[in-house]
Amino acid sequence: MLVELIFVVIKILVVITVLLLGVAYMTWLERKVIGHMQVRLGPTHVGWKGLLQPIADGLKLVAKEDIIPTMVDKPVYIIAPLLSLIPALSAFAVIPFTNATVNLFGTEYHLYITDVNIGLLYVLALSSVGTYGIIMSGWASNSKYALLGSLRSSAQVISYETAMGLSLIGPVLLAGTVSLKGITEAQANGFWFIVPQFVAFVVYLISAIAETNRAPFDLPEAETELVAGFHVEYSSMKFAMFFLAEYANMYVVSSIATIVFLGGWNGPFGPSFIWFILKIVALMFFYLWLRATLPRLRFDQLMTLGWKILIPIALVNVVVTSIVLYAIN
């Protein structure tokens, strides 16, 4: 029991460390990739090819003055960044990233943190709780830009959450379980679910980008009209937390896409962990590519896309999938 508990804590700390490093180097990759796509170089000065840039940025953010404006609601103002970050990190508790096991004192332990049979619902629930960070930060800041940004952002997030949930029903129908490990194993000997559920995959990907407020759906932080959106009044580490939460959420939605549609840890050869990471990095690169390519949508276009296009497609996909599935069996 005690061994198990200590092992779990170690796993959690390792996963969070890897995740935070992943977030840090995602910012480096983002600046490099977008730099090269726009025929610039990106960061080059700090370390070889600018590889120490994220570390320098982190240290700078820690050492910055923490400005708390006078008009804010102080307790809510301080809790809001935590409300963004905690769900984003905690979602990784159920992500099965490898099927390798380790033998400790005669008992086999798996390397992912845990597997529960409501895994997918747990991740969806946590991502819906992440909305509070956005609403609360805007309200607590008592700034017009922040409040407008947060209202827009939360309306956007909840609009696309529906399409996201509906698009996941199809794969769940095929797998017959909502446990993330179960869904991965259902794809072990056969097609990855992207093949029979390509429509659902596209709907999921679009709503995932909108959920995480990334370009071309980055309206809440439209710097040209809302300066920075909901976190305009935040500085120092509190600002960094919104940043961390945004990137951690990108990893969460990419992990879910990998597990549900791209076969998770399954690969033709080699260790399962590598395949999982490769798929996630590919999806993250796609995110960056989109940011460098597409202009931002208008708010009414965004709402139309979510409510009038994605939701009907996702609903039809559910009905068609279930009829076909019934006809086959």
């Binding site: 619902l121 629930a125 509070y132 309200w139």
Partner: protein, 166 residues
Amino acid sequence: MEQLGFYILAFLAIISSIFMITRENPVHSALWMLLTFFSVAGIFVQLNAEFIAAIQVLVYAGAILVLYLFVVMLLNPKSKGFIRIPFRYVLGIVASFVIFVQVLLTLQSANVIGKAGVYTQEAYKQYGNVKLFGYELFSNYLVPFEVVSIMLLVAMIGAIVLAKKD
């Protein structure tokens, strides 16, 4: 160990709900309510009702509380206390006492305490909570389920009629 977990969660739920009803600011109340939802979800997990726990967070915390917050932002939260009722403390105490007695009577007459369900822990382990829940809901509780869809339809139409002028 499980007992300890239950007491921590129950304590959190009670404390946060007391804070929720005593805050003057509706947004602070909403935050305490969020904590209440989480601790209740934890208690559901301890009762082997994982699916209920998940939708407790997904629907109540993720959707309904967001709706409350939007409503609070629509009304002006600066005006402290939306409605002033005379003798509200007396009214509140009387009303909660009546409801408490009602709940007690219902629990006693329905004899729900200690009633064992059809599904055992082993069944949960083998099929998982979600599957059993789905099977029960869509075979034995079919009519309530379809009634829910009509209720949702009514709710949707009602909301639109109220919010739209034309």
